[in-house]
Amino acid sequence: MEVPYTVKPRLDTGLYNSKLGIWLFLASEVMLFGALFSSYILLRAAAPSWYAGPDVLNVPIGTLNTLILIISSVTILLSWTSIRLNDLKKYKLYMGATIFLGALFLFIKVYFEYLPKIDHGHIPSENNFYATYYTITGLHAIHIIGGLIVNLYFLGPGLKMYNKEPERFCNRIETAGLYWHFVDIVWIFLFPTIYLLPGS
């Protein structure tokens, strides 16, 4: 059975189905991260004292990771524009760069942040600061892993679709890009909240 409206937009919504679907999914993700941020506010407000982010977290590393995610947002856009121009070579280059940058983000996060902290005994059960730090950044990292799996699929086996249905493939890349940008936006709010706010 053929899935309808994968290329042409539906008359009632004006959108192809997967675009509507990804926006609905992202709306649910807003509520998920919103719940975590509100939990952070509640825990922090009730705490007698709270670490200053820059005193215990690695701000240069966090800043580097912010820039890496922003660059990866641009590279996934360039992969989408390349496929719209039928330039498969550049599509592969930019999608490969996006995957590399996402993996680099995770490597830096784990190797330069999580592992040294765990080595020093700073684990989630230590206090509410570390519990919220690991929960929120960990969930964000899981979202990066999810995005990497999807992007890897579109660089590998999923690329077959381009030969038969190029416009449908193009729409898939746009949808994957929307998800990736959302993950970037979450980090944009997460970074100053966790890493940069002063202590109390």
Partner: protein, 113 residues
């Protein structure tokens, strides 16, 4: 597929937004090291810059400035629900902090050992 001239213009726009995001990231980190005295000012400044960055990504990278009405409807409903969630949280925080100050309950955090 779209017109190649339009796509090249799009790419130029993406590069400009990328530069703006880089500058705003530097500003985000820079203001964190300025002594502003009160916590609420630090939070406000951080959230203003983060909102500017988020708006650029959503508006230009996710093309939200030129989307269909139904997406605005979905996101509008989400925003209302998110505001309700934060409103409930702030109400709870207000009660909790008040009760801690009055000694009705103890602080819930096990932060300092």
């Amino acid at each position: 597929m779209s017109n190649s001239k339009n796509i090249k213009e799009e790419i130029n726009q993406y590069i400009k937004i990328f530069i703006a995001l880089g500058v705003l990231t530097v500003i985000t980190v820079g203001i964190a090291y300025i002594e502003v005295g009160k916590m609420w000012i630090a939070v406000l400044l951080a959230m203003i810059v983060a909102t500017m960055k988020g708006t650029l990504v959503a508006g230009f990278f996710m093309h939200l400035f030129h989307e269909k009405k139904i997406i605005y409807l979905f996101l509008g409903i989400t925003l209302v629900l998110l505001c309700a969630l934060f409103f409930i949280t702030f109400g709870s925080v207000y009660n909790q902090v008040g009760e801690i100050e009055q000694g009705v309950i103890e602080s819930t955090s096990s932060y300092i050992h």
